[in-house]
Amino acid sequence: METMGRYTLPVLALVVLAFVPMVVEASFTRHLFIIAFIYAIIASNWNLSLGHCGIFNFGHLTFFGVGSYTAAIAAKTYGVDPWVAILLGGPAAAVAAFLMAAPVARLKGIYVVLVTFAFGQLAMQLVLSQSDITGGAQGMVRIPYLRLGEYSFLKDYKLGYYYVALGLLVVSTIFIKLVIDSPFGKSLKAVRDSEEYAAARGVSVSRQRVMVLVLSAIFTGVAGGFYSIYLRVASPEVFGFGTLSLALSMVLIGGAGTIYGPIAAAIALTFATEALAGVRGLEEARFIVIAVAMILVLRLAPGGLLRLFEPLVPKALRQR
């Protein structure tokens, strides 16, 4: 009975999202949903290392960028099937995460922030300097699109892309939930809440950190691959401050350390920023609005906005 209760809300949300394309036929609205799903994957996986394990990881978007460029190069330069190219983003990002985690696992506090951040810059500089492979500052364009047999995904107002993105989000969320609920996930919380105690109980802090960074990179990389194939562009912008702060605000506003918070926030914020972009004179100001919202949430509701609604949800339905 309790299990049923725990899954009611997420499943209900999924059913609603699955029926959205029946109601919404506008290509642009569907596009917003697809982008929201991608951000939801980024934010919820970032939360795995930042919220659940307490690693000050500011290089999460690097995994996304690595996945994005891996898929773009595989599909365009080497003619790999776009489906396979998307999936290749996962292992490529995991390798990048492992490379980053090696120095980070031994560091503490602010140095973790600095190194993970610098790692993202390193990746961006590599992309910029290898312009014959990556297109440099211009990025890559006209990347092959998805097909299924004879069916081109460019048809039907993005219907196909919508369900692929939603499917990716569902698989990624189930994966995160499995990780969190496993004994490994509990040891992550121990590392976050009391490093010394965790170590005293035989948890290898460095190893858990490396593992969680690698795990959080997998679906982020796949999402990056999908992003390139879907938009048919790969650009170094994904490594920049802008994308980083948008994804970070989703984690914070949704609630670090929750499972569904960042997903809800990603969908809400994608639509909110897009709505603000439609208002004349607010094209740039919307980033200010998001930054202010982020500060207010940190100040007033450190657990994330979703937590504020928690008392309204019956206890049986609560899911952390």
Partner: protein
């Protein structure tokens, strides 16, 4: 060959001076408050824009402009401290939270600058015209001024923190807040002073840089990222180590540009930094944290 090397070293010295000014500001805030200010580069940019408005648009002269820029950066810095850093003192996650709030401050400042001043490139005139030759390597007099000014400012800050009562109170607060407040030091005032001083330093650097580089809303991010490399090399704990690391990085960067070219240099720098961290987690000069 020797000429090229000297020219490279001199340009490394210019870079090193810029990084030293940036990184020492970060270090002052870090040693006093335990906060890493991500908006430090944006403060530099604010000052450059204000200096441009005052001296070019209003025509009040460059010196007035630089002073106005520096003051406005200090003011914005104090506001950031009050609104975005102070509410989180004593929080268990203060370090992480203030990284996020100052990152948000950076976005707010950059986007506001874009809205206020637009995307058109601007530049300040030089404080001193003409060129200066150092061992046969020519640089502009303005850059030479930066090179000369940097060590003077660094020594001034160092003497301030060692000798003056206010400066010593900053260090006391950095070492132990409770004890500092017990012996009558106004801790919150010390925090505001540290932030204001650091921001003023960023402001002065930005106003001077506005004559060398173009003034854009994102002009602060590249120096900030370089300053981050510097503090990783030198550690954040001591002003001397930070400043030393800044010059080392500046010269390494100039040599790398000569040797590898402009494209590969940032990559090589970051790679070098990560390698250093694997073996010396507290930086090359950073003994303890």
């Amino acid at each position: 060959m020797i000429d090229t090397l000297i020219a490279t070293l001199v340009s490394g010295l210019v870079l090193g001076s810029l990084y030293a000014l940036m990184a020492s500001g970060l270090s002052v805030v870090w040693t006093t408050l335990g906060v890493f200010n991500f908006s430090h580069g944006a403060l530099m940019m604010v000052s450059a824009f204000v200096a441009w408005t005052v001296s070019e648009a209003l025509g009040l002269g460059l010196l007035v402009g630089i002073a106005a820029g520096t003051l406005s950066a200090a003011l914005v810095g104090i506001i950031i401290e009050r609104l975005l850093v102070r509410p989180f003192y004593g929080d268990r996650n203060m370090l992480l939270i203030t990284v996020m709030t100052t990152l948000a401050a950076m976005i707010i400042l950059e986007k506001s600058a874009l809205i206020i001043w637009g995307a058109r490139l601007k530049q300040l005139p030089r404080l001193i015209e003409g060129e200066i030759s150092i061992f046969g390597a020519t640089i502009s007099a303005h850059e030479a001024l930066l090179v000369a000014l940097a060590p003077l400012l660094l020594i001034a800050i160092w003497q301030f923190t060692v000798r003056s009562t206010v400066g010593r109170s900053l260090r006391a607060v950095g070492q132990n807040q409770e004890s500092a407040s017990l012996i009558g030091i106004d801790v919150s005032k010390a925090f505001a002073i540290a932030f204001g001083l650091s921001a003023a330093l960023a402001g002065l650097t930005g106003a001077l840089l506005g004559s060398i580089r173009f003034i854009t809303p994102t002009m602060g991010s590249e120096p900030l990222v370089k300053a981050m490399i510097v503090v990783i090399f030198g550690g954040l704990g001591s002003l001397g180590a930070t400043a030393g690391a800044a010059y080392v990085i500046g010269i390494i960067e100039a040599l790398l540009i000569l040797w590898l070219g402009l494209y590969w240099t940032p990559f090589a720098l970051f790679l070098l930094m990560i390698v250093v961290l694997v073996f010396r987690p507290n930086g090359i000069f950073g003994g303890r944290e």
